[in-house]
C-alpha cells in the first residue's frame, strides 16, 4: 500500500515518485473518479484555479498564496500538463492530493488532458525523459479519461474548462454523456473543453482552434437563466492580467500560469469564492524558481514545446 502522506511530502520537495507508486496511485484515483458524476456539486468556500500547464513552482506559489490543501478547498479547471517543464510533478501532486483529500480537491478535465494533445505539447516527451519509458504517461492519460467535466458550486456557479456547447442547454443533458474515453474531435464533450466566449457576438460561431465553438452573450444569458445559475467560471484562455470578466459579470476566465511558457510576461490569478458566493481574484507573479527557469539562456529540449 502506497504511503500517500509520504508521497505528497516528497512531491512538495520536487522529488519524482517511482513508476510503481504512480501506477498504484493512478489505479486508486481512477476508482475514486469513476464514482464522480459529470457534474460534481460542491459547496463554497472554494479557491478556483485555472490552467497550470506544468509550471510546478507556480503551483507551489498558488498554495503559498491560497493556503495549503486541505485547509483550503481547491477546484482546478484543467490543463495541468504540457508546455511547462514539470508537468509530471504537477499532475502527480494534484492526483495525490485528490486521492488523500477527495472532499477538498476537485479536478476538472481540460483539453490538454488527452493522449493526442500531450503527445504534441510536451507531457509525453517529459515522461519519456524523466522515466525512460512511456508507462507513466499511459497511466496518467488513463486517469484523464476519468476526470469529471464540470463542477457546480452551491448550485449556482457552473465551472468547466472551456465553455458552452450548442448541444447542451440544460445541465441535466451533461449528466447522460459518457465521458470515460479519449476526448472526441467534436460533440458536446469536445465543446465543453474547447469553446471560448466572445464578447462581440451573441450566439455560437466556428472556433479558430478547430474544435469547440465561440459563444456570445445570448447563449450565456439563456444558459444561466434556464438552469437557474448566477455565473460561469472557466479557464482555457491566456489572460495577461490573470483573469477576465465578461458579459456584465456573468462569466469569468481564470488563468493561473504566470509568465506563461516562461516568456509571455503575464500575471496569473486565483479566485476565492466565499460561502456567500462573493468572488475575489488574487493576482500573482511567477515564483522566483520559475523566474530562474525563464532566465536560462539556451532552450533545452524540455522547453521546445512553446511553439
Amino acid at each position: 500500500m502506497v504511503d500517500l502522506d509520504n508521497c505528497i511530502e516528497r512531491l512538495y520537495n520536487g522529488t519524482l515518485l517511482s513508476e510503481g507508486e504512480i501506477s498504484q496511485i493512478c489505479i486508486l484515483v481512477q476508482e475514486l473518479l469513476a464514482e464522480e458524476p459529470n457534474v460534481v456539486h460542491i459547496s463554497a468556500p472554494v479557491t478556483v484555479i485555472g490552467d497550470v500547464h506544468g509550471q510546478f513552482f507556480d503551483l507551489l506559489e498558488i498554495f503559498q498564496i491560497g493556503g495549503k490543501c486541505p485547509d483550503t478547498n481547491y477546484l482546478f479547471l484543467g490543463d495541468y500538463v504540457d508546455r511547462g517543464q514539470h508537468s509530471v510533478e504537477t499532475i502527480s501532486l494534484l492526483i495525490c492530493l485528490k486521492l488523500r483529500y477527495p472532499q477538498r480537491m476537485q479536478l476538472l478535465r481540460g483539453n490538454h488532458e488527452s493522449r493526442n494533445i500531450t503527445k504534441t505539447y510536451g507531457f509525453y516527451a517529459e515522461c519519456m525523459h524523466k522515466y525512460g519509458n512511456a508507462g507513466v504517461w499511459r497511466d496518467f492519460t488513463n486517469v484523464f479519461d476519468f476526470l469529471t467535466l464540470s463542477v457546480m458550486i452551491n448550485d449556482s456557479i457552473f465551472c468547466v474548462h472551456g465553455g458552452l456547447s450548442p448541444s447542451i442547454l440544460l445541465v441535466d443533458q451533461l449528466k447522460v454523456l459518457d465521458r470515460f474515453d479519449e476526448i472526441p474531435h467534436e460533440g458536446a464533450l469536445a465543446d465543453l473543453l474547447w469553446s471560448d466566449p466572445d464578447a462581440d457576438i451573441k450566439t455560437f460561431n466556428r472556433s479558430q482552434r478547430g474544435a469547440g465553438f465561440t459563444f456570445g452573450s445570448d447563449v450565456v444569458e439563456r444558459f444561466l437563466h434556464v438552469n437557474g445559475l448566477s455565473h460561469i467560471l472557466r479557464a482555457h484562455q491566456l489572460c495577461m492580467e490573470g483573469y477576465l470578466v465578461l458579459f456584465n459579470d456573468r462569466l469569468s476566465t481564470v488563468w493561473s500560469a504566470p509568465n506563461y511558457c516562461y516568456r509571455c510576461g503575464n500575471v496569473a490569478s486565483l479566485l476565492n469564492v466565499d460561502p456567500y458566493l462573493q468572488r475575489d481574484f488574487i493576482t500573482f507573479d511567477a515564483a522566483p524558481d520559475s523566474t530562474a527557469i525563464a532566465n536560462q539562456p539556451t532552450p533545452t529540449p524540455d522547453n521546445m514545446y512553446f511553439l
Binding site: G20, F63, F284
Partner: protein, 611 residues
C-alpha cells in the same frame, strides 16, 4: 515502503561480462583477476567500479604485493578517461595505509607524478592535493630522496601541465628539507615566476601565499618580495590579480616600517591597476591589506585609495569596497572618517548598480559607531532612510536587518520617528515576499525597541497581517505573534493580542476564522493553562459547530496541542475529560470524512503514552 521497479539500463555500447566483486575480500584469486580484468574493460562503468574496490584488492594482496605489483600496474595502465584519472588521483592520496604506512608513502609518488601532468585540470589539481597529503606523513629523508626530484622533473617538464602542477608542491616540501635544498627550491620557484607561459606564472602567483607562510623572515625579504613584485608587474592581469593574497601574507610577516619600505609602491600600483579585476581583488581584500600596515601616513593614503575605489568605474569594484566599510574606520580618526566618507557614501546610495546599493546597505550600519550618535543622526540616518525606500527589495531588506546596530548608537526615539513610516510602507508592499520579510524582522525590532513602542506603533500592523489576502503572510503573522509572546511575556499577550485574535473567531469571513484557529494553535505552547481554559476554549466551542468543515477539522487538530498545555497544571487538567474528549468524540461522528480523520488523529495523539 519499497516498490519494485526495473533497474536502470546499463550505459555504454558493449554490455560486457558482469563483474561480481563480492568475493574480493576473501582473497579469492579469481575475483582479484576479475578486478584486474575489469580495469581493462571497454566499459567505463566497470573500470570505475573496479577502481573503487582497489582498497579491497590491496588488502587482499598485502602490503608488499601492493607496492611491488599493484602500484606499478596502476602506473602503467594510465587510462585516458578523465573521470577515471580523477578517481585514481583521489584514491592514491588515501592509499598510504595499503602500502605499508608512511615509510612507504613514497611509492605512491610515481603514479601521482604522472597524474600531475595530466591534460585535464581537475585531475592535475587532485593529484597535487594528494601528493601534498602524502608529504605530511613522509619523513625528511624520503622527501629529499623522492619528492624533490619529482618536483624538479615536473618543474622542468616540457608541457605546461606539469610545470603548473609543480608550483603547488613547493610549499609542502619546503618545511621538510635542509637549508641547501630549500635554496634550490627557491631558485626553482623563481624560475616558475619567470616562466614564459602566463599559465605557469598564474600558478606561481596563487601558490606564493602558502610558500610565504613557510619561509624564514629574511627570505621573505630577499626572495618573496622581489618575486611578488615581479608578478605584480606582470603584463597579464590574470597574473597580477593573483598577487593580492600573497601580498596579504607578506604584510603579516613584516614590521610596519618594512611594509612601508618594501611594499608601499606595489600596493599603490595595484590599487590603480588598469584592469578592474585587479582593483576588485584589492578592494575585496582591503581590510586584510590595511590591517598589517600601521603607519599613519600609509594609512591615510590607503583611505584615499579606498575612497577612489568607491568611485571606480566598475560596479564590481565599488561593491567589493563596500564590504570593507567597517575596516576603514581603523584608518583614521573618527572626525577624519566622517569628513571624508560623507560625500562618497551619498554617491553610493545613488549608485546605478542595485548590487552595489545592496552591499552598501548591508555594511553601512557598521559605520554608525564610528560616526557616533550625532554623526549618525546627521549624516547616516538620512542615507539609511533613502536606502530603505530603494526600488530593489534586497537593499531595503539589508537595512532592516541591521537596525539593531543603528539603534545601539542613536537610540529608540530617533529611530522610530524616522524609520517607522518607512517600515510601514514596506509592510504594505505589493510584493508579498517583501511584506513577509518585514514580518520576520518584527520580533527583532520589537525586542530592541520595547513594548511601549510596539503597542503604539506596530501592534495594529501585526494584527492587520492576520487578515492579509496571501496565506503565507497570515501564516507568518501567527508565527510572529508567538515570537512576540516570547519577547513580551504571557501577561502582555493576554492583555493585548489574545483578545484581538479571539475576536476574529466570529468574523463572517471564514478565512479570518481559520486564521484564529491557526493563531491559537501556534501560540498555545507559549501561554499558560489558565489562558487556555478561560479565553481560548470558550472561543473554540463556537467554532466546533461551524458550518464549514475546514474550520471544524482545524478545531479538531488544535485540541491536541491545547490538551498538552492544559495538562501542565492540576487545575486545568480535568478539562481534558470534561471538555476536550467529548468534543473530539462528537467530531469523530461528523458527516465530513476529513473532520472525522483529524478528530480521530487528535484522540490517538492524546491517548498515546508519549503525550
Amino acid at each position: 515502503m519499497s516498490i519494485d521497479s526495473a533497474p536502470p539500463a546499463a550505459p555504454g555500447p558493449s554490455p560486457g561480462p558482469h563483474y561480481d566483486f563480492q568475493d574480493a575480500q576473501s582473497g579469492d584469486l579469481g575475483a582479484l583477476a576479475a578486478i584486474a580484468d575489469a580495469m581493462k574493460s571497454d566499459n567505463l562503468t566497470d573500470r570505475l567500479e573496479s577502481l573503487k574496490r582497489l582498497g579491497i584488492l590491496a588488502l587482499a594482496m598485502g602490503e608488499e604485493r601492493t607496492r611491488d605489483e599493484l602500484i606499478p600496474f596502476l602506473d602503467e595502465s594510465i587510462d585516458d578517461e578523465d573521470e577515471l584519472l580523477l578517481a585514481l588521483a583521489e584514491l592514491l592520496g588515501d592509499f598510504v595505509q595499503y602500502v605499508g604506512g608512511p615509510k612507504y608513502a613514497y611509492v605512491l609518488l610515481r603514479p601521482l607524478e604522472n597524474l600531475a601532468a595530466a591534460e585535464e585540470t581537475v585531475v592535475r589539481e587532485k593529484a597535487t592535493e594528494s601528493i601534498n597529503k602524502l608529504v605530511e606523513v613522509m619523513d625528511q629523508l624520503h622527501v629529499e630522496e623522492y619528492l624533490i626530484p619529482c618536483i624538479a622533473r615536473l618543474s622542468s617538464g616540457e608541457w605546461f601541465t606539469s610545470r603548473s602542477s609543480a608550483a603547488g608542491l613547493y610549499a609542502s616540501a619546503y618545511g621538510k628539507v635542509t637549508d641547501a635544498i630549500q635554496s634550490k627550491l627557491r631558485a626553482g620557484y623563481e624560475a616558475l615566476c619567470k616562466d614564459d607561459m602566463p599559465m605557469i606564472r598564474r600558478a606561481a602567483a596563487s601558490n606564493l601565499e602558502s610558500l610565504v607562510k613557510k619561509i624564514e623572515k629574511d627570505h621573505v625579504i630577499s626572495f618573496a618580495i622581489p618575486n611578488f613584485r615581479l608578478l605584480a608587474d606582470d603584463d597579464q592581469d590574470s597574473v597580477r590579480l593573483l598577487t593580492v593574497e600573497p601580498l596579504v601574507a607578506i604584510t603579516k610577516r613584516l614590521t610596519t616600517d618594512e611594509c612601508k619600505q618594501y611594499l608601499g609602491e606595489s600596493v599603490q600600483k595595484l590599487c590603480v591597476d588598469k584592469s578592474w579585476r585587479v582593483r576588485y581583488m584589492v578592494a575585496d581584500h582591503f581590510i586584510a591589506i590595511a590591517t598589517n600596515i600601521k603607519d599613519q601616513e600609509l594609512q591615510e593614503e590607503l583611505l584615499s585609495v579606498a575612497i577612489s575605489l568607491m568611485h571606480d568605474s566598475e560596479a564590481e569594484v565599488r561593491g567589493a569596497i563596500c564590504t570593507q566599510l567597517d575596516g576603514l574606520a581603523d584608518l583614521a580618526t573618527p572626525e577624519a572618517i566622517v569628513a571624508r566618507l560623507q560625500a562618497p557614501l551619498q554617491e553610493l546610495v545613488d549608485d546605478p548598480s542595485q548590487h552595489v546599493r545592496a552591499t552598501l546597505a548591508k555594511h553601512i550600519g557598521s559605520l554608525c559607531s564610528v560616526f557616533g550618535k550625532e554623526g549618525t543622526l546627521e549624516h547616516l540616518l538620512p542615507l539609511l532612510l533613502r536606502l530603505l525606500k530603494d526600488s530593489f527589495p534586497d537593499v531595503r531588506l539589508n537595512i532592516i536587518s541591521k537596525l539593531d546596530v543603528v539603534d545601539s548608537v542613536v537610540g529608540i526615539d530617533s529611530l522610530s520617528q524616522s524609520l517607522l513610516p518607512a517600515i510601514v510602507e514596506l509592510a504594505e508592499d505589493k510584493q508579498w515576499r517583501v511584506r513577509l520579510a518585514i514580518i520576520e524582522y518584527v520580533p527583532l525590532i520589537a525586542s530592541q525597541l520595547g513594548v511601549q513602542f510596539f503597542d503604539e506603533q506596530l501592534s495594529n500592523l501585526c494584527m492587520s497581517w492576520l487578515g492579509d489576502p496571501v496565506y503565507s503572510i497570515r501564516e507568518a503573522a501567527t508565527a510572529n505573534l508567538k515570537k512576540l509572546t516570547e519577547v513580551f511575556g504571557v501577561d502582555w499577550a493576554r492583555a493585548t493580542i489574545i483578545p484581538k485574535i479571539l475576536a476574529m473567531a466570529t468574523h463572517p469571513n471564514y478565512l479570518y476564522r481559520m486564521t484564529t484557529i491557526f493563531a491559537i494553535t501556534t501560540i498555545a505552547p507559549s501561554v499558560t493553562p489558565d489562558i487556555v481554559r478561560d479565553l481560548i476554549l470558550p472561543s473554540l466551542e463556537g467554532l466546533v459547530n461551524d458550518q464549514i468543515p475546514n474550520i471544524r477539522f482545524n478545531v479538531a487538530k488544535s485540541l491536541e496541542p491545547l490538551t498538552a498545555v492544559l495538562r501542565k497544571s492540576p487545575e486545568t487538567t480535568s478539562l481534558e475529560s470534561s471538555i476536550i474528549r467529548p468534543t473530539l468524540a462528537r467530531l469523530e461522528e461528523d458527516p465530513d470524512p476529513d473532520v472525522r480523520y483529524f478528530a480521530h488523529r487528535s484522540l490517538m495523539a492524546i491517548d498515546s503514552p508519549a503525550a
